[in-house]
Subunit: 407 residues, 2 copies
Amino acid sequence: MARIVMKFGGTSVADVERIKRVAARVAAEVAAGNEVAVVVSAMAGVTNQLIEYTRAAARLCDLREYDAVVSSGENVTAGLLAVVLQDLGVAARSWQGWQIPMITDAAHGSARILRIDTAELERRLATGEVAVVAGFQGLEPERNRITTLGRGGSDTSAVALAAALRAERCDIYTDVDGVYTSDPRIVKGARKLDKITYEEMLEMASLGAKVLQTRSVEMAMKHGVRVQVRSSFEDLPGTLVVDEEEIVEQAVVSGVTYSRDEAKITLRSVPDQPGVAASIFGPLAEASINVDMIVQNISSEAKTTDLTFTVGRAEVERAVAELRRHAERIGYAELAAEQDVVKVSVIGVGMRSHAGVAQTMFGTLAEKGINIQVITTSEIKVSVLIAEEYLELALRSLHTAYGLDAA
Amino acid sequence: MARIVMKFGGTSVADVERIKRVAARVAAEVAAGNEVAVVVSAMAGVTNQLIEYTRAAARLCDLREYDAVVSSGENVTAGLLAVVLQDLGVAARSWQGWQIPMITDAAHGSARILRIDTAELERRLATGEVAVVAGFQGLEPERNRITTLGRGGSDTSAVALAAALRAERCDIYTDVDGVYTSDPRIVKGARKLDKITYEEMLEMASLGAKVLQTRSVEMAMKHGVRVQVRSSFEDLPGTLVVDEEEIVEQAVVSGVTYSRDEAKITLRSVPDQPGVAASIFGPLAEASINVDMIVQNISSEAKTTDLTFTVGRAEVERAVAELRRHAERIGYAELAAEQDVVKVSVIGVGMRSHAGVAQTMFGTLAEKGINIQVITTSEIKVSVLIAEEYLELALRSLHTAYGLDAA
């Protein structure tokens, strides 16, 4: 017997028929002798509709009221799943954030979970009752107001609940059946990973793989919650996200990922003097524009430098406008923006103990005639910016070079 | 300066545009110096959709989960109205049933309000903040579960809140602009009443006028809450529902109402002996079939009697089936059911002190050649069952006979 948390997203509970399929999977875990808590999202489309209402209601929406409105979709799904479970003969009860309570801070719209009072839930789980928990929401106790956790918050609800309940596993049911070594739509030889470390999953999440919410992975890592990413539609094992120590044979590289959401901005002949970086990135930060990769080259002429960095594609126009507005203070000779670039990354905790990982990447790309525009590295990943037209070639070549292709 | 409660139904908040119109009316009351609490229903159609989900989910729906699901529509409207009010510069905050809390008993699906803790609401009303309260819902404190008050429950929420807040008035905004002496679609001379007593309103509500929920009128009467029925769409005074003492010149008859939802069942030659009524109405009660008017005639033959009664049209088939199933035990010679009947009622607290009201009714109908099939009376109303084809003629003649026509 084990205690597990199951989480189902919006497409898995999109209508009553799908909720019935979800209930059957929950019932199977109960029949196997497990104590089960289920976290659910709103039916697909509902939360967007509610957000649209709040936008139509006012130019600036009070976030406390925003939370009261947009949290209601999860309440509906939680109640309905409890009803269907009861109909299958499985004892079940729905729980809204304030009922548990799931205590958060007061950062409405993107609140952080502070603690979960699980005493009553645990008492009921022990009697065989399934707890169906509305995801994405919590309670700010000071003012007794509903909070929401921001986009993808139901993943975070599930992991936080699994941590509080000391659950053996947190199964995230989604429309992919696990985490792959690369995008199977591009790389034919891509394989589903049985296990992946928290660190790798975190890099993948922030590098474009949309399987899990970054914050939920951070929380799983912090509390040592074993997370399984698996398919809502097929009954197959998925990918376990676990601590490094649980993985016996760790590959040097676990995956090759990419992000198309990149734009490159280059400033030429910037005065090479203290304070110039601040004069560039200060205005961008104030305009809430996220800067990702940054490279500074020594220019051919003395006392000037070239500076290249990337921003999200949706933000490139605003970034250029900000830089033009501050052109005099920054003092660059030329500004160029380019959108047909992609970021390709190789990720693996194994590179901590293996030299030559970056070299393999650079060599492989060079061999195929692919020019590297920007490089950034961290302890467990190497990212390069290349022209978009080489994306598929780069992914396939790297996947083969690191020995990731399926046998 | 006064403290008032305003209530808006589903059609008045059917979309964001209408919610903005509601907000303008609320803002006008605030600008007039009033302390304002607003009770809102779900957007038109939303609650029915949620009920449909629960029906699709399971054959028998647990009422605690039913309440958790169907109460969510009001939360959305309350949050949105608060947002729009803030956008107009009016301080406002939404309140769900559990937040106030609005304490109810545990009769899920049709709970009764036991008490409302208004301390925090009153503190905020005093600062000029509008309280936007989700109608139709409450909190059962023992299990910490959401309850709903049953159909039309938002009227009851509003009246209960007005009582708890000792509000000067509870304005129920609806798609009619008040209570009329008769149905203006049929009776051209029908007039809007300025005032009507609780007792009369109660009779009208239970006799087919769908202006106010019966339970909300009972509660208003019990707590002496002055209720005003008025239009959501026009800014005109409506009809005040008040205590008899507030009405200086009380007409003998205040209104002539009707109900088409009637079916007549006659059992002929039933043994005239003790226990026979129980043998007939017992099985109907067990099948949850409401019986309204009952008349028992002495039959021409000795030791048998004829029995006539009415049920709702939707229930007549079930009623007949029940009576056939128990035919042997009841022992009737013949069973007849008729659906083309209507109930016409005259209502007025004035008839307590005036004789001859029933006689005027019978005389007027006889004059027009309308046969009366069944008669029932109470202290303040006389109802007759007649053939449906005479409905319009009967309403107009009675309206004139009691001097109700507009000058």
